[in-house]
Assembly symmetry: C2
Homo-oligomer: 811 residues x 2
Amino acid sequence: MESMMIYMPAILAVVGLAFMWAKRSWVLKQDAGDGKMKDISSHIYEGALAFLNAEYKLLSFFVVGASIALAAIAYVVPTTHYLIIVAFIFGAFFSALAGNMGMKIATKTNVRTTQAARTSLPQALKVSFGGGTVMGLGVAGLAVLGLTGFFILFFHYFMGGEWTNTTQMTVVLETLAGFSLGAESIALFARVGGGIYTKAADVGADLVGKVEAGIPEDDPRNPATIADNVGDNVGDVAGMGADLFGSYVATVLAAMVLGNYIIEDMGGNIVDAGFGGIGPILLPMAIAGAGIIISIIGTLLVKISSNSAKEAEVQKALNIGNWTAIALVAVASYFLVTWMLPKETLTMGFFVGGAEGFEYMDIASIRVFYACLVGIVVGGVISAVTEYYTGLGKKPVLSIVQNSSTGAGTNIIAGLATGMISTFLSVLLFAFAIWASYAFAGFYGVALAASAMMATTAMQLAIDAFGPIADNAGGIAEMSELPAEVRERTDILDSVGNTTAATGKGFAIASAALTSLALFAAYVTFTGIDGINIFKAPVLAMLFIGGMVPVVFSALAMKSVGKAAMKMVEEVRRQFKSIPGIMEGTAKPEYDKCVAISTEAALKEMLLPGVLTIGFPIAIALIPMLFGYENVLIAEMLGGYMAGVTVSGVLWAIFQNNAGGAWDNAKKSFEAGVMINGEMTYKGSEAHKAAVTGDTVGDPFKDTSGPSMNILIKLTCLIGLVIAPILGGHTEGDIPNEEISVGMENTINTEVIAEDISKEVQVNMTSEGGETIAKVRITTTKKGKTTVQQKTFIGTEAEVEKQVQDLKDKA
Amino acid sequence: MESMMIYMPAILAVVGLAFMWAKRSWVLKQDAGDGKMKDISSHIYEGALAFLNAEYKLLSFFVVGASIALAAIAYVVPTTHYLIIVAFIFGAFFSALAGNMGMKIATKTNVRTTQAARTSLPQALKVSFGGGTVMGLGVAGLAVLGLTGFFILFFHYFMGGEWTNTTQMTVVLETLAGFSLGAESIALFARVGGGIYTKAADVGADLVGKVEAGIPEDDPRNPATIADNVGDNVGDVAGMGADLFGSYVATVLAAMVLGNYIIEDMGGNIVDAGFGGIGPILLPMAIAGAGIIISIIGTLLVKISSNSAKEAEVQKALNIGNWTAIALVAVASYFLVTWMLPKETLTMGFFVGGAEGFEYMDIASIRVFYACLVGIVVGGVISAVTEYYTGLGKKPVLSIVQNSSTGAGTNIIAGLATGMISTFLSVLLFAFAIWASYAFAGFYGVALAASAMMATTAMQLAIDAFGPIADNAGGIAEMSELPAEVRERTDILDSVGNTTAATGKGFAIASAALTSLALFAAYVTFTGIDGINIFKAPVLAMLFIGGMVPVVFSALAMKSVGKAAMKMVEEVRRQFKSIPGIMEGTAKPEYDKCVAISTEAALKEMLLPGVLTIGFPIAIALIPMLFGYENVLIAEMLGGYMAGVTVSGVLWAIFQNNAGGAWDNAKKSFEAGVMINGEMTYKGSEAHKAAVTGDTVGDPFKDTSGPSMNILIKLTCLIGLVIAPILGGHTEGDIPNEEISVGMENTINTEVIAEDISKEVQVNMTSEGGETIAKVRITTTKKGKTTVQQKTFIGTEAEVEKQVQDLKDKA
């Protein structure tokens, strides 16, 4: 059984994908309605496909470019193999595939939801949530399948499917990082491009249609209305999917890297584990795999029976599924941790005190489970905090509503202040998560906290994707001029979807933040530095630059929306003027022209932020090299940059998402009417107009720049991770492609230098063909405290032996 | 001559104050105009006094509370003396005195400027700039006099006026930190409270007066108009003055602390300096003193001759004075550096490489001058960048103007984006300043870069304070219904004042940021830690929390403005309704009620942000102590917090100031008319209304929350500095008050542990009465690289000797 565990997550992923396929067939079998509905739905479907195709074209150029860069890294760094390129391409392909599947099913489900809503609400929920489930399981299944599949492949290719040593495993994991990088690159395109697309279409449709021409939302006479509906799918479905796909993969990968370092800390071999000696590496994959099955159970619990149900019942049904899934993940984590980790204790390196405080300690392996609990709980609470700050009827939103009565200015100030204040609790929680999960189980604990939180990704995405599907379904009902009760039913789903969208964003930020931290920890271990000292001026300078990048990135994204929206406005105006009969409904607008404008603008405007994201970490690694800086210092500088991006990125993500969400719901509050200064105030009032202005500002915040922060911080840390081996003190060389025969030699040389001080030099040599890799570890124990230095040498056997001897002499 | 240098800065400060007094007498001798003008002016004067008195009352409570806290610190920490309380009280008093003098002269000068404007523009400039000069020299003079005066006092009290050792000097400087803390605490009240005051009055006056009642700005019928004019003085004059007073003192102090560490790095005594052996400590004071005289020269160059001059000529006159002063500071720095520092080389500890890369290097002392140049140049360029992003007719402001045509929403987005993008260049420059000044001369270089930049503070403040004076003068002209030409002349001055206000804010941010860095460096050396490693989870958690605080602080400040403005709105509405004849001008509004509302609200609303600022660093130091964390780790955690606050605070300061400035000038652009889509657009258009909304949002940004960031980051780092000795590895004990007799014993014990490794243990014992202080320094040289550890022991001679012996045995 145990030895099979390496295949288990992949098998569970396949089970998830099979369930997904069955669900998909069921959804597609549902009635797609009659003529006009079908017509509109196929417009949306084609618009979405048009965007995807244009995106894939651009992506293919990017993939080629990035592959060349990776080839260069593989050439320079001995522990990075050329297979990283293959992994990268597949990572990009799998992520794109997941997005493609999600978009397709979402755009097929919308019309079926509309049709189902003609019969009953429970049926409409079943269909729309079914579509969401397909999306969720597709993303999670492909993520786990891809990651674990490549791990199995590389584990066999580099290590012959059996544990050799941590250096070899590092090669496996560094190569696997390519998969994660590929996935996150697609997320950049999908999230940022998608965010620009959806808001350009939305603003364009609203400004000319609603404001200038005075026709209602989703009116088929509006040329931008199809683009607007496509945008919901591009941004909220594909963008969110790619974001979570990337987080899922990166989190598990980072945990695996840190698991490998646990094995190293335990002497390079775990004796008491029955999982091929790689229990700590398999554990995060196992939790991810279990999460897929748990999510299936969760989705099965989401149903309502009464046709007269309201928002509360629908929300409750979703909550039951979600909470059950989260609780089951906690239970599963307990069993997996106790089963898969060395039974009693793990040895881990901790920073416990000052500069000399790096200590190896034996901790009870159950503490890894506590770390998982921290992740699960904090993920849930951060979602709740997000809901509080953005929820209808809650104090922050009501305060924005009150401030709308004195005009747009005060509405905006209140919204900005709400977003800013909301960082308080979220960041405190987040700091607590870092502190607690580290206190329990070091950075491995931090990574597993993230893994446990991410385990319900499929369920989260199902809940998240059902919102835009319901939104689309309502649009189709409106455009097809169906009876009001249909729209009422889809509106109930849409309204619940808005709440889940907010909590989903909270989940996405929390996961991105924890993922980045895990990657950050993996980065430090990959580079072999023993810390990032911000008291070094160049490191501090990079911390400042890192802090600035999310701010500038957000501004660029916001400006892009503005530019793209302007183009859309002009096009819609042109059509209204030049197509006779368009306002009377006798002539059809040219939907495809608007779709093309959004598509083109989104992809073009995405380039500059993309260059910023990718260019800065590379420049920070390369420029100081040209100036002859030591690799160790450069590694710290890049680490400082990563920390700056993460800290500032998390802040700006929370600020922008919550401010945007709060403005949105402040505006929506007027639909049912709100009490301002003792008077009921409705849509169309001056206060409502002020709230609409606030929402205009909030739109790019919550749908473009805010969510992009997730990608920015993760991608920054992933690029750092891929660059890390260059800075990791390796010398030139390469590991040939032929099967590696592993020879091993272990020299231990302990000497007592002074009373109470002892030095141990441990050499781990792996040789193969003309190449020898030596990993030297010098452990100094002083007054019971232990510090460890590590170096890796690569070269011919004679060279390496000489270097090792030199080091021993010095030690 | 050389031995007198310790008194020189104080003497120069007295010269500056004497010049200030002469200028003040000249200004007060000018004609204060006739009845109505005098009446209005005295209303403003009394309003300002009312605020000051209320503020001082609140402050006295604060000072008592803070003194008790300082007494506790002095009790616990042996190197912190009870005299720190005296220094603190005087720091607060001097800062308050400077603010008081500045406010008084500003409110006396305004009416004299109006009167002067009746005769000619050159005369109006002379009077208004004269008032600014009084303010500038008062602030700078008192800052330098207070700091150097207390240094002389403590130097004699603790060290008998002669160099003994760095430990004693540390006691002097730690006690002196109280002066800086006192000054910065007043700045918190003046900047934040003043910021809330000025905007509450401004928004209140505008919303009811201009918008609801339709009467012009500064109309005497508006009850809030006096409060509005008082606000200009409270916020822009006293607030800015207190801010720069604090920066000036803190920068010089930090440089002195780091200068002391240079002496320590050079073996505890400098042999070749002729300045009582404290050249590196005196240098920053000398530059500050020279800066006062140079600023006087600068102010003398500011004049125009033609009565038909326009903005450009006035700006040019100010520029000539400013640039001359900056250039002279560069020259003075060159001579002072080469004269006062050890002739050829300085020994400094640098981080040059990785974890073991702390190295002692001999650097040419001229490199300290290069660091000064970096500060001077970067300060100038950051001001220029600020001017670009906020200047009338520049691309960013024009783009906001264009975006106003599609409504308030797009105007707001454009303004936010401008503020965010403006962080790019500013932060890059700032990162460059850190990197370059450190590369030239370590953190001493960073501190001297800040000192050199701050040397022209008096000149900067003169330029800065003249703006609000001109603004007030215009208000008085309007309220007194003087001929249009008078208002035209004051408007020219006001317009130039707006530009200088923007660059002044750039200067204030840059100085606050560099000051914080210098304090940060001083903090690290005070605590004796050898770095801040953000790879330690608790430190990383604090970096996140530190990053969050400026965001929440800003939100609190913005909300405070909103609340206070609402109260003002209600009061103005009440007066319009209940005072018959007020709109006809036959009855007088109750100005004092509005002044009282602003005063009360400002002081009340300031408490929560104040508690946040002061509470967090104290909590971070105390709570982990209760949990038994090691002091060294706590010191790193607090350092991480300080870095987080600084990085995030600088970003939010630049973002908010520049966005606010840009919105303001976008609105102002409509006064002269702007071209939008090929059409000239003026005040009163829809686009203008959108721009007014943007300005409403920008007002608290640029005048309340933005400038408060400066205080937040400086005060955070100062509190850290005062707490530092608690965390600095000292044991319990105290240095008695009696004159200290210094005994010195120097043991050197070098042993070669292994080939290429040598250890040197150096013990420096100072004993007095029953107390012995031992400073032990262990220098390890490995492969030519040197690392140093230091410990301080305090206790009876026997105890200390035992501890030292233990350490020697271990080393």
